[in-house]
Amino acid sequence: MAQIEKNQAIEAENKHKQLDRALMRQQGRRGALIEVLHEAQHIFGYLPRDILGYIAASLQLPPSHVFGVASFYPSFRLHPPAGHTITVCMGTACYVNGASRVLRAAEERCHPRAESEQHDRIPFDVHAVHCLGSCGSGPVMQVDDDLYLHTAAETVESALDQCVETVRAADHASDGTTEASPSGEIFPESDTSGRQDARNNDSAAGETDDT
């Protein structure tokens, strides 16, 4: 146990060193705050309160200004991420094809409102984004790094069930760490949907169309 704590302390120190280097690089550069926040989030995974205070002190900015900026931009996370993320595309083309129903289904599955269903809760953050760039294959949903095309509200349920199984199994295998992605085939082969590797796909912009 002591060893784990020690490792954690070392890791925390390394992260702080990285942040210091980032601050050093930005020194004297005008308007560096947003760049520093980007780097800090990259290092820590989100923007912890004390880190914001540290950045404010280092850049000689009022803390409230730093918090105001960090909370203004949606890309900055002020809370630790849940470990796994479901991203539902709400671009116009996906929306017109029923993305809101997909989003609702995912939300209900991950954040059930009824007390009795709490044990069913899936450890995923559900996000909606403006466009995942696959406007021709909507509605599009992304679970961690994997992209699911042609989702429908009806298939989300079963997809999520299988997702959570694989994720839990993977989490279990890697002993509690959250580095995992579902590896099981979620949509049956016969389904029109294609499960695609989207690791390089956060940048996708155009349309895909299976017709």
């Binding site: 550069r29 005008r30 308007g31 705050l33 947003i34 760049e35 926040l37 980007h38 200004h65 105001g68 900026v69 909370s71 203004f72 931009y73 949606p74 890309s75 900055f76 996370r77 002020l78 809370h79 991420p81 709400m90 671009g91 116009t92 083309a93 929306y95 017109v96 989003l103 609702r104 939300e107 209900e108 954040h111 409102r113 953050d125 559900v126 996000h127 909606a128 984004v129 403006h130 466009c131 995942l132 760039g133 696959s134 406007c135 021709g136 294959s137 992209l147 695609q196 989207a198 390089n200 796909n201 956060d202 940048s203 996708a204 912009a205 155009g206 349309e207 895909t208 169309d209 017709t211």
Partner: protein, 581 residues
């Protein structure tokens, strides 16, 4: 103030050296037996084009021609809906929907046996490409965006070299003015005029800012340009910098475009290495640095004053204009803010002359427009047409008409700031004035086609939810007005509204439009106003008939779940700021 320290070659490059690099590269490319261009942009990547690159390499390896074939990833080839796209030279042929399994057969057929591979062949005179006029997109999908030599071989940086060597800044501005180029980000302000105002600013430090913060859902022309031809933007910026007297440029783009960011970073490094940007460009007295700034997901940062605040490291909230950025922008200095596509138009104008450019398009809207075509269409993708082309010809000729033979209902232009145009106005021309006349706007060039399965009330609510979530919260009409507009629309959608609500909706929409501080708020009601104008019947059906003609909206008694319930507490702020309805 110099903001970046870069390692630079002591000596600037000369025009002759530039030509030499281009010549050498062309000669090297000519030694290859064949070229395979794999589209590595947006849609094609999500359709799996990355794997294709390896598949083609393996196929060439197997046929023992690997060293004779040049395989590159290129920018967008246009017809994203049928990706992944692959172009093979010689006997230039475009293949669509290519899978890794087909790679070997394409190689053996096209390159070894010199016969096109028929089943994936895209017709040479495919209607999608037939009526386009590529200016901004002229090199897209044809050159390697990660190679500055390739860009130079295609005539790149010649315009910059000639401008700084042979023309006075005033002449460059005159050329741009005479060309009739207008801002492509949506405003349509004459570019030359803007340059002239910044030029007249007496301050010593001026800035050029490239606005690549493309936020409209469904618009991806800026991303395609950054990913597919980053040097064209750099060159345009440098020419603009020379013309207005700026030494520092900023490119502001979205963090959601990691590939675009990476390509642009690479391009800046290469341009500094040569150097074609840096100190004393092409042995002139003009020095220019470019820095890349990454946004953090706020749509409103695309508004120019908000964008400048964001570059300064502040909350991206708009400020009242005047003063305009051209008088007082970044850190209070005169700043030229131009859209990506506008800047990409600059090098060809400088090379080919104002007359060439103004020969295209209409009387008041010269040149071409890049449009991202999406929605329920047969052919979706990135196109470029002369200004004044009719909506009908874009949607039915280039776009191939509505998918699955359904009826066309409306085309949405201009994103959340634009409007929906119904079928009776399909003959409207795509230019700044004509689109405004039919109650929409050009915007950045996103075009989304909707068929009869779309409910226009629902679409109106969708765009209002977008604007509500993207409002910066500074001025009251936009911050609260969009919330109230959305609530009324949602009430209509759920069958719980009265005709009186419709009156309040109209009144509030006009008020928000007239009184908001910035472009976001002023244009937020546009979709509602245009949809109310053209599709009022649908609103009345929802209110008095309590039914949704398209069958999209669930009326309250039918819906089992609360459609508008907010996200549960404890979700991250990211979700708060995003569209969810």
């Amino acid at each position: 103030m110099r903001e970046i320290t870069i390692q630079q070659r002591a000596r600037p490059m000369t025009l002759e050296e530039l030509y030499q690099i281009g010549r050498a590269h062309r000669e090297r490319v000519a030694t290859f037996r064949a070229e395979i261009h794999v589209c590595g942009s947006g849609g094609c990547r999500s359709a799996g084009s990355e794997k294709l690159l390896d598949a083609f390499r393996a196929a060439c390896e197997k046929k023992k021609i690997a060293s004779d074939v040049r395989i590159i990833t290129t920018g967008c080839m246009g017809l994203c809906g049928q990706g992944p796209l692959v172009r093979i030279l010689p006997r230039e042929t475009l293949y669509a929907g290519v899978t890794p399994e087909k790679a070997e057969r394409i190689v053996s057929s096209h390159i070894i046996r010199e016969k096109p591979f028929r089943s994936l062949l895209l017709d040479a005179d495919h209607p999608f490409y037939a009526s386009q006029t590529p200016i901004v997109l002229r090199h897209m999908g044809r050159l390697d965006p990660e190679s500055i030599e390739d860009y130079i071989a295609h005539g790149g940086y010649e315009a910059l070299a000639k401008a700084v060597t042979y023309s006075a800044p005033e002449h460059v501005i005159l050329e741009i003015r005479n060309s009739g180029l207008r801002g492509r980000g949506g405003g349509g302000y004459p570019t030359g005029l803007k340059w002239d105002i910044v030029r007249r600013g007496t301050s010593k430090s001026k800035y050029v800012v490239c606005n690549a913060d493309e936020g409209d859902p469904g618009a991806f022309m800026d991303r395609a340009l950054l990913e597919g031809n980053p040097h064209a933007i750099l060159e345009g910026m440098a020419i603009a910098g020379y013309a207005v007297g700026a030494q520092q440029g900023y490119i502001y783009t979205r963090g959601e475009y990691p590939l675009a960011v990476e390509r642009m970073r690479h391009a800046i490094r290469e341009a500094e290495r040569l150097p074609v940007i840096g100190n004393r460009i092409f042995e002139s007295g003009f020095s220019f640095q470019v820095d890349l700034r990454i946004g953090a997901g706020a749509f409103v940062s695309g508004e120019e004053t908000a964008l400048l605040r964001s570059i300064e490291g502040k909350r991206g909230q708009p400020q009242p204009r005047p003063p305009y950025p051209s008088a007082s922008g970044l850190w209070g200095e005169p700043t030229l803010v131009n859209n990506t596509e506008t800047l990409a138009n600059v090098p060809p104008i400088v090379l080919n002359g104002a007359r060439w450019f103004s020969g295209m398009g209409t009387e008041r809207s010269r040149g071409t427009k890049v449009i991202s075509l999406a929605g329920n269409l047969r052919n979706t993708g990135l196109i470029e047409v002369p200004m004044g082309t009719s909506l009908r010809s874009i949607i039915f000729d280039i776009g191939g008409g509505v998918r699955e033979n359904r009826a066309f209902k409306a085309v949405q232009t201009g994103g959340p700031s634009g409007g929906c145009i119904p079928s009776q106005h399909l003959d409207a021309a795509v230019d700044f004035e004509s689109l405004a006349q039919v109650g929409s706007m050009m915007g950045s060039g996103g075009m989304i086609v909707m068929d009869d399965t779309a409910c226009m009330v629902d679409v109106a609510a969708y765009f209002m939810a977008f604007c509500r979530d993207e409002s910066c919260g500074k001025c009251i009409p936009c911050r609260v007005g969009t919330v109230q507009l959305y609530r009324i629309l949602d009430r209509i959608r759920r069958g719980g509204a009265t005709l009186q609500d419709l009156d309040i909706l109209e009144e509030l929409a006009v008020m928000v439009k007239d009184t908001s501080l910035c472009g976001l708020g002023r244009s937020a009601p546009n979709p509602v106003i245009s949809i109310l104008h053209y599709f009022r019947r649908e609103f009345e059906d929802h209110i008095t008939g309590r039914r949704c003609p398209a069958g999209v909206c669930l009326m309250d008694n039918e819906s089992e779940t609360a459609a508008t319930a907010p996200l549960p507490a404890g979700t991250s702020p990211q979700t708060e700021g995003s569209v969810h309805e």
